[in-house]
C-alpha cells in the first residue's frame, strides 16, 4: 500500500479512458438518445396537434351542423308559413270563386225567374183574353186592352 509511479500510470489510463469514452461512446450514444427523444417529442407534439385539430374540426363540424339545422328549421318554418299562406290564398280564391259562382247562379236564376214570370204572365194574359173573349163573346184587342189585361194579371200574381 504505497503511492508510487503507478499513480502516474493510473492518471494516464483514467484520463485517456475518459476522453476516449466520451468521444467514442457517450457523445454518439447521447446524440442518438437526444435525436430519438426529439423525434418522440415531435411525434407527441404532432399527435397533440392532430388531436387538437381533430377536436377543433369536430367542434367546427358540430357548429356547422347546428347552423345547418337552424337554417333548415328556418327554411322549414318559412316553407310551412308559405304553405299556410298558399293554402289560405287558395281557400280565399276558392271561396271568392264559389261566391262568384253562387252570385252568378243567383243572377241567372233571377233572370230565368223573370223570364219565366214574363212568359207566364204573357201566357196567362193570353189565357185571360181567351177566357174573357169566351165570357164576353167578342174579340178583345190585345193592344187596345193591354192596360186592363196587365192590371188583371198583376192583381192575379200579387194575389198568388
Amino acid at each position: 500500500m504505497s503511492i508510487d509511479l503507478t499513480l502516474v500510470g493510473q492518471f494516464i489510463v483514467f484520463i485517456t479512458m475518459l476522453l476516449l469514452l466520451k468521444k467514442m461512446l457517450y457523445v454518439p450514444l447521447n446524440d442518438a438518445m437526444e435525436a430519438r427523444t426529439k423525434k418522440i417529442e415531435d411525434g407527441l407534439a404532432a399527435a397533440d396537434a392532430g388531436l387538437e385539430a381533430r377536436a377543433k374540426a369536430a367542434a367546427d363540424a358540430a357548429a356547422q351542423i347546428d347552423e345547418a339545422k337552424a337554417k333548415a328549421q328556418e327554411i322549414l318554418a318559412a316553407a310551412d308559413k308559405r304553405a299556410a299562406e298558399v293554402k289560405e290564398e287558395a281557400v280565399q280564391k276558392a271561396r271568392l270563386e264559389a261566391e262568384s259562382i253562387v252570385e252568378a247562379g243567383k243572377e241567372e236564376l233571377a233572370a230565368e225567374l223573370n223570364r219565366t214570370q214574363q212568359a207566364l204572365r204573357e201566357e196567362v194574359a193570353d189565357i185571360a183574353i181567351l177566357a174573357a173573349e169566351r165570357i164576353v163573346g167578342e174579340e178583345l184587342d190585345a193592344k187596345k186592352h193591354a192596360k186592363l189585361i196587365d192590371s188583371v194579371v198583376e192583381q192575379g200574381f200579387n194575389a198568388a
Binding site: 503511492i3 503507478t6 500510470g9 483514467f14 469514452l21 467514442m24 450514444l29
Partner: protein, 295 residues
C-alpha cells in the same frame, strides 16, 4: 502452525507485482516512489481496453430508432447517469456526465474482478513466473487516488474559473474570520485578521479531505473485502484431499463454500455501491464548485 502458514499466505497474497526503476540500487536504498505495480497497470489497462473496445464496437451499431441488445443496456446506464447528473447539477456542463459514466463503469468493472476465487490469479501468475498478482486494481491505493485527484483538480479548476474571488474569500475568511471582520470593534477586527491563517488551514483540510475520503473509502472497502475473502479461504477451506475426507474437513469445506458464496454476493453489491458512491460524490463536489455565489 497452520494459522501461521495461512497468515503468511495472506500477507504474500497482498503483495503487488512490482517493478522498480532503480534496479541498479540495493533494495533498501531504492526510492519507494520509483516503482510501478505491474498487476494494477495490467488489470486497469485491460479493463480500460475492454471498455474502449466495447465502445468502439458499439459506436458502429448505434441506431436512432428503437434500441436493442447492448445499445439498450448501455442507454439505460447512460440515462441513469444523465438523470443523476441532471438532478444534482445546477448548470449544464458537457464534461460531467461522461466523467461520471467513466468513473462508474471503470470502478465497477475493476471491483468485479473480486468475483474470481481469492488465490486463483495469484497462483496462475506464480505459475507464469510473476512474483505476485492482485487482480482487483481498486485495491491498489494508486488507482483511487489518481481518480480522486483528477476530480479534485477539476473541482479546483471550476472553483477558480467560475468564482475565483468567492473561492479565495472562502479560503481566507470562512468559517471564523468573516464574522469577526464584520464587527465594528477594532480589536475583534484585528482578531479576525489574525485568524485568517487558521481559516486557511481549516479550509485546506476540508478541501483535501474530499479526494482523501473519496479514494480511501473505495480503497478501504475493496481492500477489506479482499482480506475477508482470503481469510475465508484460509480459515475454512482445507489444504488437501486427506483433510477433505475427514468429517471436520468436509464440514469446514462446505461452510467455507457457503460463507464464500455469501460474501461474494455481498461484496459484489459493495463493489457496485462503491462505484455509485464515487460517482455521486464526484458529481456533488463538482456541483458545489458550479453553485452560483449567493449574495
Amino acid at each position: 502452525m497452520a494459522a501461521e502458514e495461512h497468515s503468511g499466505g495472506i500477507a504474500e497474497h497482498l503483495q503487488y507485482w512490482t517493478y522498480s526503476f532503480q534496479q541498479d540500487l540495493p533494495v533498501d536504498e531504492r526510492n519507494p516512489f520509483m516503482q510501478i505495480h505491474i498487476d494494477t497497470m495490467l488489470v486497469s489497462g485491460f479493463v480500460a481496453l475492454l471498455i474502449l473496445g466495447f465502445s468502439f464496437w458499439l459506436k458502429g451499431r448505434i441506431v436512432e430508432g428503437a434500441p436493442t441488445g447492448a445499445q439498450n443496456a448501455v442507454e439505460s446506464l447512460v440515462g441513469f447517469v444523465n438523470d443523476t447528473v441532471r438532478d444534482n447539477f445546477p448548470v449544464h456542463n458537457p464534461v460531467i456526465a461522461p466523467l461520471a459514466l467513466t468513473i462508474f463503469v471503470f470502478i465497477f468493472l475493476c471491483n468485479f474482478f473480486d468475483i474470481l476465487p481469492a488465490y486463483l490469479l495469484g497462483h496462475v501468475a506464480e505459475g507464469l513466473g510473476a512474483p505476485a498478482f492482485r487482480p482487483v486494481a481498486t485495491n491498489d491505493l494508486n488507482l483511487p487516488v489518481a481518480m480522486a485527484l483528477t476530480v479534485f483538480a477539476m473541482v479546483l479548476y471550476y472553483e477558480f474559473k467560475l468564482k475565483p474571488v468567492h473561492f479565495v474569500k472562502d479560503l481566507l475568511f470562512q468559517p471564523f474570520a468573516n464574522l469577526l471582520l464584520m464587527s465594528k470593534n477594532p480589536v475583534v477586527k484585528l482578531l479576525g485578521v489574525l485568524i485568517i491563517p487558521l481559516n486557511l488551514i481549516l479550509k485546506l483540510i476540508e478541501e483535501i479531505a474530499k479526494p482523501l475520503s473519496l479514494s480511501f473509502r473505495l480503497f478501504g472497502n475493496m481492500f477489506a473485502g479482499e482480506v475477508i475473502f482470503l481469510l475465508i479461504a484460509s480459515l475454512l477451506l482445507v489444504n488437501n484431499f486427506s483433510d477433505m475426507a475427514s468429517m471436520g474437513g468436509t464440514i469446514s469445506e462446505i461452510m467455507g463454500l457457503l460463507v464464500g458464496l455469501g460474501w461474494s454476493l455481498f461484496h459484489m453489491f459493495i463493489g457496485l455501491l462503491q462505484a455509485f458512491i464515487f460517482m455521486i460524490l464526484t458529481v456533488v463536489y463538482l456541483s458545489i464548485a458550479h453553485q452560483p455565489v449567493e449574495h
